[in-house]
């Protein structure tokens, strides 16, 4: 075997992580297919669902990324009071449970929302949010924050020395520094969002205004829940995987090689900054778009916040435990896979994104049921599945950082014959603290809001906060549910903030 340019770390952690991902994605799919009685193939309605799914995902990813670039650029170039808090807050929509976010968006863009109230006041006819544009708007609301974070990270990873060099040589920064950076960062960001929107179901249906907006995930839902046609569900889930792999390969091929060298982590001081008004305008617009619906959720939930039934608090406690467990597991897996850093690893890292939540849950149920009472392992399975589902984001944040360290310090470490443990502990860990914190926060917040697996597994005493909130809604208790939604948002955000903050404790990003 050829010598690698970095110290060799143990093989088993990433193998273990890879196996877990495979079991929970392809394994659960296999379990569903195994139980299936194969019938007819796809009908025309399925094909139109596939078409709609791909189109809305492409549009959503395109607009999310295109709008995120100026926002990230403005945030990277300007320093102002409260900037750090704003960056964290702007990430919040991504952490919202679907139903909460939809109601928040409707409070702004809906028929009785702020926008139409304002238009009516001006004597302008109301606009309808429902349709393809509504689907894209909702997906941009969800995913633009993620794109901003990823692209901002790219901007901040350009060393200050490069900007100085560019300035002293008087070459255009946009062409020599920023464009190559974007070529490296944008394709994978686009891919992640494309895949997220590919498996969307409730958002697409609700905002799409009817069966025109049928996605593959809804067809899977129907196949499992209404027709109990596991064969069709498995077939449709396979199609999602194929689309995912195609997307991943495509993104892989167009991703530019990031030519950025090493720097001394200095703060960038830019002197090419004319017209601060444009940057601040962009930041303010993004803040209004992303934070106003959030503010409506807070306002809606406040009146009932302190009158919620006791069961809600118990459920919240359970959710926090699950979130912390899956965050820990997720970053461990991500770190193991990032240290390995091969193309297969990158593919394993995006696979969970293409997995249908319902197929994962159903497959896991089929795998577990013969041996254990599903309710007994509800929280454990939720933890495992969510750690896996958050893995792509964690990897996306961690892998480039680890790769950079390998390039920068690998030869030095090799020449020093550094021990495996010390390489990870002394060289890698301190330098990936920032993405590590970000990844942990993201994983924690995402599993706080999970409603996929838990709904299938949980009994009464394993109820998590999102499930409790949903059950409140099902029992007409919309006001209590709004209170629970606020608690959910607050907890998700706090967990994210603590982890993210820990990652930046010694940095000045």
């Amino acid at each position: 075997m050829a010598h690698s340019a970095v110290p060799v770390t143990a093989r088993w952690p990433d193998a273990l992580a890879g196996v877990l991902v495979l079991v929970l994605t392809l394994g659960t799919l296999g379990a569903v297919a195994w139980r299936a009685e194969w019938g007819d193939g796809l009908d025309p309605a399925d094909w139109s669902a596939i078409g709609f799914t791909v189109m809305q995902a492409l549009l959503s990813a395109f607009f999310s990324v295109m709008l995120a670039i100026p926002v990230a650029r403005a945030l990277a170039r300007r320093q102002f009071w409260g900037r750090q808090l704003l960056i964290t807050l702007l990430g919040a929509p991504f952490l919202l449970p679907v139903i909460v976010a939809v109601l928040g968006l409707l409070a702004i863009f809906g028929r009785a929302g702020l926008l139409n109230t304002g238009l009516a006041w001006l004597g302008i006819a109301p606009i309808s949010i429902f349709g393809l544009h509504g689907v894209v708007l909702a997906h941009v609301f969800f995913n633009m924050p993620l794109a901003v974070r990823f692209i901002l990270q790219g901007w901040l990873s350009i060393p200050a020395e490069r900007f100085r060099l560019a300035a002293s040589l008087n070459v255009p920064i946009w062409r020599v520094l920023e464009l190559p950076m974007l070529r490296a960062v944008v394709p994978s960001t686009f891919l992640v969002i494309f895949l997220l929107c590919l498996t969307s179901f409730a958002v697409a249906l609700t905002m799409g205004g009817g069966p025109r907006a049928t996605t593959v995930e809804l067809a899977i839902y129907q196949a499992v829940r209404f027709d109990f046609d596991l064969g069709r569900a498995a077939l449709l889930a396979c199609i999602q995987f194929v689309l995912c792999v195609l997307g991943a390969v495509l993104a892989w091929r167009v991703t530019g090689n990031d030519p950025i060298g090493t720097g001394l982590d200095r703060v960038v001081r830019r002197w090419d900054l004319a017209r601060p008004g444009v940057d601040y305008g962009v930041i303010i617009l993004a803040a209004i778009f992303l934070l106003l619906p959030l503010a409506m959720i807070v306002l809606r939930g406040l009146p009932e916040f302190f009158n919620m039934p006791a069961a809600i608090w118990a459920a919240a406690f359970r959710s926090v435990l699950v979130a912390l467990g899956s965050a820990l597991l997720c970053v461990l897996m991500a770190l193991a896979l990032a240290l390995r850093g091969e193309m297969m690893v990158s593919i394993v890292g995006v696979m969970p994104l293409a997995a249908s939540g319902l197929v994962v849950g159903t497959g896991a149920f089929l795998l577990v049921f013969p041996f254990i009472r599903p309710a007994d392992v509800a929280l454990l399975v939720t933890m495992l599945v969510n750690a896996t589902l958050a893995l792509p984001f964690a990897l996306r944040a961690l892998a480039p950082a680890v790769e950079q360290i390998k390039q920068d310090y690998g030869r030095l470490a090799l020449s020093l014959d550094i021990a495996k443990g010390s390489w990870v502990r002394l060289v890698i860990l301190p330098r990936v603290r920032r993405p590590l914190g970000f990844a942990a926060g993201l994983a924690a917040a995402l599993s706080m809001g999970d409603l996929g697996v838990i709904a299938l597994f949980a009994g009464q005493s394993e109820e998590t906060l999102p499930l409790a909130m949903y059950r409140l809604m099902g029992a007409y208790r919309m006001d209590s549910a709004a209170g629970a939604a606020l608690l959910l948002v607050a907890l998700s955000f706090t967990l994210f903030w603590i982890c993210d903050r820990w990652g930046r404790a010694d940095a000045d990003m």
């Binding site: 309605a45 809906g110 905002m207 069966p211 499992v224 109990f228 299938l456």
Partner: protein, 329 residues
């Protein structure tokens, strides 16, 4: 007796042993989520039944009515459930087909607007689907009038929600071959289609639509629990499609006698009196004291529509295609 001390050491045997030795037998009832919450009928019914059965009644919530059947099918004959409670007549044909159910054997005097003859499934409550809107606003008098009006409504997707499927059957039963035309005219009234009842009802309460597909009994919740009389159900001339919610005994149950006892209890006072103000539906057997105050204000349809389980199953796919085609334009 000496043997007993060794038994727990053997894992497989120990499992059998615990259930055999347990002081109280366990009856497991698989039902939908909102039945088991602290605001649902579950807790009161558990207390009442446990007081007379010397058993441990356990409710297991599994999503909504449709998820319930899928859950049972996933578990198959190995299921631990003794009773499945919460299917409706649009699902019972498929449920019967699984072969997992045994006849209920109960002969009860039911207060349903229709005659009940199903030997496998026994109703515990029922209601009428209806559009619920705000009091004082213009209320259409029929599905046709609604389709011709400007009223904006939210409905649920028949592919993922039981009320959504109910509306599909309602239109099909009332309009037969003209159903596609009605859907086509309704399509500009439909603000959006949600995946479940909760999202739709929440959107209506937030003012997104003039009305939402729910039940004639929904206003009773607002009236009784919130003292709010601002919600009304629209009475339609074509009649209203019914939802009859039923329970069935799992054929492979290890507690057949207890399961029979529960089904008999289900149509008795202790169970039925809890239903109106927890599940917000009509009880299958009217309690001795009559319905709670407030229920007399609800609209009572002149005509009750309901397809037999077999008809409902046979018409579903055609009706679904018509619905999808009409609304996809």
């Amino acid at each position: 007796m000496k043997k007993a001390t060794y038994l727990p050491a053997v894992a497989g045997l120990a499992l059998c042993a615990t259930s055999a030795w347990a002081e109280t037998p366990v009856l497991q009832v698989l039902t939908y989520d909102s039945f088991v919450t602290e605001w649902g009928p579950g807790p009161a019914i558990e207390t009442a039944f446990e007081a007379e059965c010397a058993c441990d009644l356990q409710f297991v919530g599994a999503g909504d009515g449709a998820a319930l059947l899928a859950r049972l099918q996933l578990e198959g004959p190995r299921t631990d459930a003794d009773i499945v409670l919460g299917l409706d007549t649009n699902l019972t044909a498929a449920a019967r087909e699984t072969g997992l159910f045994a006849p209920h054997g109960i002969n009860a005097d039911l207060d349903l607007p229709i005659e009940w003859t199903d030997a496998d499934f026994l109703p515990f409550d029922w209601g009428y689907f209806a559009f619920v809107g705000n009091a004082g606003a213009d209320a259409p008098q029929s599905l046709r009038a609604l389709a011709d009006s400007d009223a904006q409504i939210v409905i649920q997707d028949p592919r993922s929600s039981t009320p959504g499927l109910g509306l599909l059957m309602w239109v099909k039963t009332a309009y037969g071959d003209d159903a596609p035309a009605l859907w086509a005219d309704l399509s500009d009234n439909i603000v959006t289609v949600t995946s479940g009842w909760s999202e739709a009802y929440g959107m209506f309460l937030e003012g997104e639509a003039d009305a939402v597909l729910s039940y004639t009994t929904s206003p009773a919740y607002h009236l009784i629990a919130e003292e709010d009389d601002s919600k009304v159900a629209w009475a339609f001339d074509e009649g209203h499609y019914m939802q009859v919610e039923v329970a069935g005994k799992v054929a492979g149950t290890d507690q057949p006698e207890l399961a029979d006892k529960f089904l008999a209890f289900m149509v008795s006072e202790g169970f039925q009196s809890v239903i109106p103000t927890t599940n917000w539906m009509y009880p299958a057997v009217t309690p001795e004291g009559g319905l709670p105050e407030g229920f007399e204000t609800l609209v009572t349809p002149a005509k009750s529509l309901l397809l037999s389980p077999e008809d409902a199953a046979a018409k579903r796919d055609v009706a679904l295609d018509e619905w999808r085609t009409a609304l996809s334009r």
